[in-house]
């Protein structure tokens, strides 16, 4: 049963078709990697799923719930968490405060005016801070974190949201080798309890985390399957011709 079902998605910007009839089913508790050459429409797809842009046509259904026309915060509330390509954290707030904002079980401003510590926060904070290795950095201003730590903080923030699906846009961009190793272990742990979609260029990284790989080309679905099958698919080879990684 698919958690997320994308049907015949189209998006054009003033005549240019960026997404052209893309469909995708994401199965519960899997890690799906979205790959494709530059300009294939991966980030645009992310934008469409999270409501940052509206599709020209097509539908996006989350657990039987049509979310196509909802706004960003409504989609986020229904359980889609997103980590951006360029890490976006609140640099002026401490790591703890970043986590606290991300713990968005209660989003009503009036109820939040009366509340200082939301219920269940400390337990969740403890869990996520341990998982992301930021436990002794909680009081640091996020602006002072290293690049790797910032990436981890943002992944942690998405986890604090308790999402049904995590969308990670190039989670290891700019990370050192050892940080990437750590992320691989972490993501393999995470997919036992979560559903993830990861956009990634680095095939070596994809090999070590992906359950399913979906290839996009020119805004459309090209192929899907295990990485080994994908790598032998002649159409994929053609698309990637000249790309050394495949």
């Amino acid at each position: 049963m698919g958690v997320l079902e994308i049907r015949d998605l189209h998006k054009s910007f003033g005549g240019t078709k960026v997404i052209n009839g893309f469909s995708l089913d994401v199965t519960e508790l899997t890690l799906c990697c979205l790959v494709g050459p530059n300009g294939a429409g991966k980030t645009t797809t992310m934008d469409l799923i999270t409501g940052r842009q509206k599709p020209t046509s097509g539908s996006i259904v989350l657990r039987g719930d049509d979310i196509t026309s909802l706004s960003e915060h409504e989609i986020a509330q229904r359980g889609i968490g997103r980590k951006f390509q360029v890490p976006a954290v609140f640099r002026e707030l401490s790591v703890r405060q970043n986590f606290e904002v991300a713990y968005s079980r209660e989003v009503n401003p009036f109820r939040n005016m009366l509340r200082r510590r939301p219920a269940g926060f400390s337990a969740k904070l403890d869990e996520v801070a341990t998982l992301t290795g930021l436990k002794d950095r909680l009081e640091t201003e996020a602006g002072f974190l290293s690049h790797g730590e910032t990436q981890w903080l943002e992944i942690g923030m998405v986890l604090m949201q308790n999402p049904a699906i995590l969308l990670l846009d190039e989670p290891v961009a700019g990370m050192t080798e050892s940080e990437i190793e750590k992320t691989i272990v972490f993501l393999n742990e995470l997919k036992r309890t979560n559903t993830l979609i990861v956009v990634e260029h680095d095939m070596g990284f994809v090999r070590q985390i992906a359950d399913v790989v979906t290839v996009m080309h020119m805004g459309a679905f090209l192929a899907q399957g295990k990485l080994s099958d994908i790598e032998n698919d002649p159409r994929v080879r053609e698309v990637y011709l000249g790309e050394p990684e495949v």
Binding site: F84, Q85, V86, A88
Partner: protein, 294 residues
């Protein structure tokens, strides 16, 4: 409708065109500064005021003819703008709200500085006799000077459009606007482009000032009367030259027509409310400068 009904309405339309030209010439310097440099220049009204005082001073102490005062005001205020850009604005380019506030500080300094030098009493700029007469335009009667303002505005719009769309400098400006780093790698000095544009925008405010000094009186506070309208033209237009032309035309005509139906001040209120509603649907104005994030 009889011709009796049409005449005052046509008059309102012609008057609207004149209002539009005044708002446009007040806004044009602001537009190129906002559109290119991204700075909301709160001292723009004071640049206008400085232009008026420059013309006044040159005329009263050296007897410079009015038509020569215009380029002189341009030069003087452009220089002031240059100094302010080099001394302050360039350090604040990535902090838009702070530039807005800092330029407000500048406006306070300029206004009070002029008040200390020239005093608070009104000054007047003399123009040739012929500018003071009236002329019939179809159904409407308009002072010759307002036609002069209209003509100068048209000239300046044409000149600015030529500069920004037909010259090498204009190409550099657009390159910098689209991608500063990329432009730099092609050897375009963004810093220099910003500096020149800011000075140019200030200079144009100076020209507007010497015209406004004739339309009304010259006072240290005169800039504040124009600056809100000028900002609205930029906001409605979206920060492009053509946007400002369209926005000034639209708002000027609406102001004039509303004023024809009600009165001047209530018309202004109506217009502002309408702009708020307009922005609800087009928050980036008529012709927005496209801006992507992330």
């Amino acid at each position: 409708m009889t011709s009796l009904d049409i005449a005052p309405f046509a008059n309102a339309l012609v008057l609207g065109l004149s209002i539009a030209s005044i708002w446009l010439i007040a806004a044009i310097g602001l537009t190129i500064i906002y559109g290119t440099v991204g700075v909301i220049n709160m001292a723009h009204g004071e640049f206008i005021m400085l232009g008026a005082y420059t013309s006044y001073a040159l005329q009263s102490s050296f007897g410079l003819p009015f038509l020569l005062c215009l380029p002189a005001s341009f030069a003087v205020v452009a220089l002031v703008g240059l100094v302010i850009e080099r001394g302050l604005i360039r350090y604040l380019y990535n902090r838009p709200l702070d530039t807005l506030l800092a330029t407000w500080g500048v406006s306070l300094v300029l206004m009070q500085g002029v008040r200390l030098i020239f005093g608070s009493d009104p000054k007047y700029i003399a123009v040739p006799e012929i500018f003071q007469s009236n002329v019939e335009v179809g159904f409407a009667s308009l002072s010759v000077f307002r036609l002069v303002v209209l003509a100068i505005t048209a000239l300046i719009v044409a000149g600015t459009a030529y500069l920004f769309y037909r010259t090498r400098f204009g190409m550099q400006v657009r390159a910098v606007m689209q991608n500063k780093e990329m432009a730099a790698s092609f050897g375009i000095n963004a810093d220099r482009v910003y500096m020149t544009t800011f000075a140019l925008g200030a200079g144009l405010a100076g020209v507007a000032g010497s015209l406004f000094g004739v339309l009304a009186i010259v006072l240290p506070t005169m800039g504040t009367a124009y600056v809100v309208q000028a900002f609205l033209v930029v906001v409605v237009g979206g920060g492009t030259l053509m946007g400002s032309v369209a926005a000034a035309g639209l708002t000027g005509e609406l102001q004039s027509v509303f004023a024809f139906i009600t009165n001047d001040t209530f018309a202004r209120f109506l217009l502002y409310v309408l702009i708020v509603v307009f922005l609800r649907f087009r928050p980036r104005g008529l012709f927005a400068v496209a801006k992507g994030r992330r």
